[in-house]
């Protein structure tokens, strides 16, 4: 950083524009994503009715007769997400309460980095864990469990998003003013009463925001479901059966190298657009709730 020369004004101007262009790449990326998805989806919908797409209950683009009803994929995504939240919400909230209300500083200093490590582990590793560890256990407990099933993928995805729920919820709980806790303790409240009746309700929208954001992560997660949940789009309530999610379907087609431009290939853009819009909407709600919460304190 030693080379300083007198920078002419024109150079100043050029540099500012260059930096601006780099910042503009984010806008460009967003437009490119939308354009790609819309372009692919529109050409898809020229051949497949949009009504069939959103109401059809069969998704068999790869077999004759072809059916293009996205509901089974949507349901697969929803089922796995519900299972994941079923795991992540109690575990995440439990550890958030422990960390914010019970744990002394030294314990927090150990637990928080461990939870952060979990966020950094590649999802393909979680997928491996689901298929080779959790599924065999499930098969012992419920012998009718198939090799690929929604439950195993959902549980492991829940483990994966637990740190998100706990760290965002803990932030929200820590933001609750100490004076509120003191007021409750002053009235003779015990820790659990303070935690459950004062802190949790005060931090409610912050906690909900953390759950919603974790949910959006689960909806968009790809590898765990591709590895462990199967590739059989199905409207089933039985979590021990194989299903297929939107993300896993996109992976499956990508892997198969369906020829560019074919109808089968273009399905991934209509599915991708649906996925994008859902995640976008969920994020919007999550960020809106988070903002509302943080403005309060």
């Amino acid at each position: 950083m030693e080379s300083c020369t007198n920078v002419p004004r024109a150079q100043e101007w050029i540099i500012e524009k260059l930096l601006f262009l780099c910042a503009l790449i984010s806008v460009f990326t967003m437009f490119a994503i939308l354009a790609m998805l819309l372009f692919g989806a529109i050409s898809f919908f020229q051949e497949v009715s949009i009504i069939e797409f959103f109401t059809g209950t069969k998704w068999t683009p790869l077999f004759k007769p072809q059916h293009f009803g996205i509901l089974p994929l949507l349901w697969g995504t929803l089922l796995v997400t519900i299972i994941a939240l079923g795991v992540a919400v109690p575990l995440g909230l439990g550890s958030a309460i422990l960390l914010s209300e019970y744990a002394p500083e030294q314990v927090r200093k150990i637990i928080k980095p461990v939870l952060e490590i979990m966020v950094g582990i590649p999802t393909v590793v979680y997928g491996y864990f689901a298929l080779t560890f959790v599924t065999p256990i499930l098969q012992v407990v419920f012998p009718e469990t198939s090799v690929f099933n929604a439950l195993s993928a959902g549980i492991v995805m829940g483990i994966m998003i637990t740190p998100m729920v706990s760290s965002l919820s803990e932030d929200a709980m820590l933001a609750v003013p100490q004076s509120l806790r003191e007021a409750a303790y002053g009235l003779g409240a015990r820790k659990h009463e303070v935690a459950l009746r004062v802190v949790l309700p005060s931090a409610f929208s912050g906690v909900v925001a953390s759950i919603i954001l974790a949910m959006s992560r689960a909806i968009g997660e790809t590898m765990i479901v591709s590895i462990a949940a199967g590739s059989t789009p199905k409207l089933t309530l039985n979590p021990l059966e194989g299903i297929q999610t939107m993300t896993a379907y996109i992976t499956q087609i990508s892997l198969g190298e369906a020829p560019f431009g074919s109808l089968e290939y273009r399905t991934i853009f209509s599915v991708g657009l649906t996925l994008f819009l859902i995640v976008f909407a969920v994020n919007l709600i999550g960020h809106w709730m988070a903002r509302r919460y943080w403005r309060q304190y």
């Binding site: 550890s95 298929l131 009463e193």
Partner: protein, 282 residues
């Protein structure tokens, strides 16, 4: 006092502790499982062999080199662009609707599922720009994916540079770019580097967008140019884990150990930079 309350107080503590222990146990079992399965298969032959239809001959070399290519090029593209964007947003951008529009965009991009970036990459780089299923297309896709992370981390580092430094430099007649280059950037660099390394370690672990770009090619060669086809470690692990033959699962586990090892060393570098920086600034 009602005796039940004391019990409840302890009960909540125990329940919360169990929840925390369970989530940590999840991590530990996950790691133990992978290590127990993979360690016996992890040897020099594994690191130095190309993929094969025979489990005991297969190795991770092509994927490891592919990952190095991808991460190297991604770093080359994303670091300057990300830092420049962050500098613009922190040091230059006027407070107007367009700047907030850019900010909203970056926040939204960070939440886009990674597989959607794969679709973007296939449409934009593989097809429209006719780069094919090449390393270059993969690295460009990965660049777009981690840019929001680098920008957010860099902005945080830039924001933590004391205002007094900037004022001191401006008062000496420095131009905005001189202040930015000579004062702000050197002070923010450790934080920027830490954030970039963490973003790159995300890029190493990402499988979904790479699968859409690279597809399920049987790559039995080591790529030597950015225009070659490629595979990366997460894809190779996915391939092995999807193989019904059990031995391949052990290869997947061995691959996971290598992948985690690479991530661990990258994170250690990031932590080391942060540590040295904290020591230097009192």
């Amino acid at each position: 006092m009602i005796p039940g309350r004391k019990v409840k107080e302890h009960a909540l503590f125990i329940i919360c502790s169990i929840a925390t222990l369970l989530s940590i146990a999840g991590l530990i079992i996950l790691l133990l499982d992978a290590f127990a399965d993979g360690l016996p298969w992890l040897d020099f032959q594994f690191l130095n062999s190309l993929p094969s239809h025979y489990p005991d001959k297969a190795g991770i070399k092509a994927a490891l080199i592919g990952s190095v290519w991808i991460v190297g090029l991604t770093a080359l593209f994303s670091f300057p662009i990300g830092v420049a964007a962050a500098l613009y947003l922190e040091e230059y951008a006027p407070r107007n609707w367009f700047t907030s529009f850019i900010n909203v965009n970056i926040a939204n991009l960070a939440g886009v599922p990674s597989i959607v970036y794969g679709l973007l990459g296939i449409g934009l780089f593989v097809e429209s720009l006719t780069l094919g299923r090449s390393i270059l297309a993969g690295a460009l896709t990965m660049t777009l994916l981690i840019l929001p992370i680098i920008i957010v981390a860099s902005r945080e580092a830039i924001r933590s540079v004391p205002k007094a430094y900037r004022e001191g430099a401006y008062a000496l007649g420095a131009t905005r770019w001189q202040v930015t280059r000579e004062i702000v950037l050197p002070s923010a660099l450790p934080g920027i580097l830490t954030g970039t390394i963490l973003a790159l370690s995300r890029a190493i672990g990402e499988a979904a967008p790479m699968i859409t770009i690279a597809a399920l090619a049987y790559i039995n060669f080591v790529p030597t140019s950015p225009f070659d086809r490629f595979t990366v470690m997460p894809i190779q692990i996915y391939n092995w884990v999807s193989n019904p033959i059990r031995e391949f699962h052990h290869l997947a586990a061995a691959g996971i150990i290598v992948l985690l090892g690479v991530l661990l060393s990258m994170n250690s570098i990031a932590i080391y930079i942060r540590y040295r920086y904290q020591k230097r600034v009192r």
